[in-house]
């Protein structure tokens, strides 16, 4: 049945889009952490009072959060790839289903608002407003979550 096959392909496409963005984000974070570690090693080797950091991972996490907060204070918010899975999943689950679907289509499936508007029959500006309002809610929740 055509509808059933279309639905199954849709599931695989959505999952693939999710995996692609997650892998891209994880690679970006890994590279960032490695670059930071190398820069610290080069810098601290010259420091006579340097003591080896036993828990670099914990230290890096603190630095990363400080950087996020500093950027948000200046109105710069992280890209989807920069958000950790746990925070993002928790925030997205709080949205309404329509908002979740819209974010999924635009972010993970990389569909333009024009295309989503054509497919859903809803006005483009309404979709855009809904999308950016959902992002605002996510940022607020993530800002308040620990």
């Amino acid at each position: 049945m055509k509808n059933k096959d279309t639905y199954k392909n849709k599931t695989q496409n959505m999952f693939t889009a999710y995996v692609v963005r997650s892998v891209k984000g994880a690679r970006m974070k890994y590279m960032d952490k490695n670059n930071y570690r190398e820069s610290m090693e080069n810098h601290l080797e010259d420091d006579a009072e340097y003591e080896p950091m036993i828990h670099f991972d914990d230290y890096y996490e603190v630095v990363r959060r400080e950087r996020l907060l500093e950027n948000e204070k200046q109105g710069r918010y992280p890209d989807w790839e920069e958000l950790s899975d746990d925070q993002l999943i928790r925030a997205i689950r709080l949205l309404q289903k329509e908002e979740r679907d819209l974010i999924f289509q635009h972010v993970f499936q990389q569909k333009s608002f024009d295309k989503i508007s054509c497919e859903s029959g809803k006005p483009r500006n309404k979709l855009e407003n809904r999308y950016y309002y959902a992002l605002k809610k996510i940022r607020q929740w993530m800002g308040g979550a620990e």
Partner: protein, 62 residues
């Protein structure tokens, strides 16, 4: 077997289904584990972990 069925089984913890899905996405994982022309084993392991996490977190449409 359809992808949806395999994914559902993987989410329930079926090892064979999990392995099958990881195999499907292995080219993507390997491509992203190459850094400056060299294969990074640690990054590869991390990306495998990410795919496993995606299997667990992805919600199938009802």
């Amino acid at each position: 077997m359809s992808f949806e069925v395999i994914l559902q089984q993987a989410k329930e913890g079926n090892t064979q289904a999990i392995l099958e899905i990881v195999e499907m996405y292995k080219p993507l994982i390997i491509r992203n584990a190459i850094v400056e022309g060299f294969f990074d084993e640690d990054l590869y392991q991390e990306l495998i972990r990410v795919v496993l996490s995606c299997i667990k977190r992805f919600e199938l449409l009802a």
